[in-house]
Assembly symmetry: C2
Homo-oligomer: 111 residues x 2
Amino acid sequence: MAETLNKKISSIKKEMINEREIYDISDFFKVFGDSTRIKILWALDTRSMTVSELCVALEMTKSAISHQLKTLKDNKLVKYKKIGKNVIYSLDDEHVSIIIETARKHLKEDH
Amino acid sequence: MAETLNKKISSIKKEMINEREIYDISDFFKVFGDSTRIKILWALDTRSMTVSELCVALEMTKSAISHQLKTLKDNKLVKYKKIGKNVIYSLDDEHVSIIIETARKHLKEDH
DNA sequence: TTGACAGTTGAATAGTTGCTCAACTATGAT
DNA sequence: ATCATAGTTGAGCAACTATTCAACTGTCAA
């Protein structure tokens, strides 16, 4: 009885995955695999910010920040709004927080 | 009334994060940022496997697989058991599935 | 002991990536 | 028009990384 249920749950949980999706997933995680980008996401999870504000917060050059914002933009993790000379960036996805928090939980565990 | 509640929720949700944790988080995601390692994790999420079995499943050399298994081992994502000449690897953490599934959800969405 | 099989490891190489620098666009103020 | 500010972009370089190759350890069988 319980075994049949487990098999059912297991078959629902485990779907097929193809070569293309594998690359999409690993490319997606590459975006999170850089400390500067994590800092940006963390900062933007607090509040929306302009590029200059991010430069001050992270103590980095406009160019470096802008390059990383492009990567985040391309991966649909941040969105932006132009207001006059400023460009205000903000998070574009609720998954970002979930993913980072799950990682933190994992890292807090003792093995 | 609603505003006060939002502020409270916001303060609970958002904890401090330090420089060290930023690097730990990005290092953790670097592990997921490689297609070979995703393939290994995906395969091991189906069932435990020896190195040779993984070689057949992923069509790669023992050496390449072994190098990546070391990385996964170091990051506490897989565990292993020696049985005779064989080394059987399996997933070491329920967070792995959660993280990969959240990424897949994100990638499936249209923006 | 010898040989075959399973897996690990270190060095070398080829490819990738993050930051800097300089040049650029665009907007607003004088 | 001119200048300052805000941000973007492409090239180049230094640092990193995934795979290959060859040599190695450890286990089992004859």
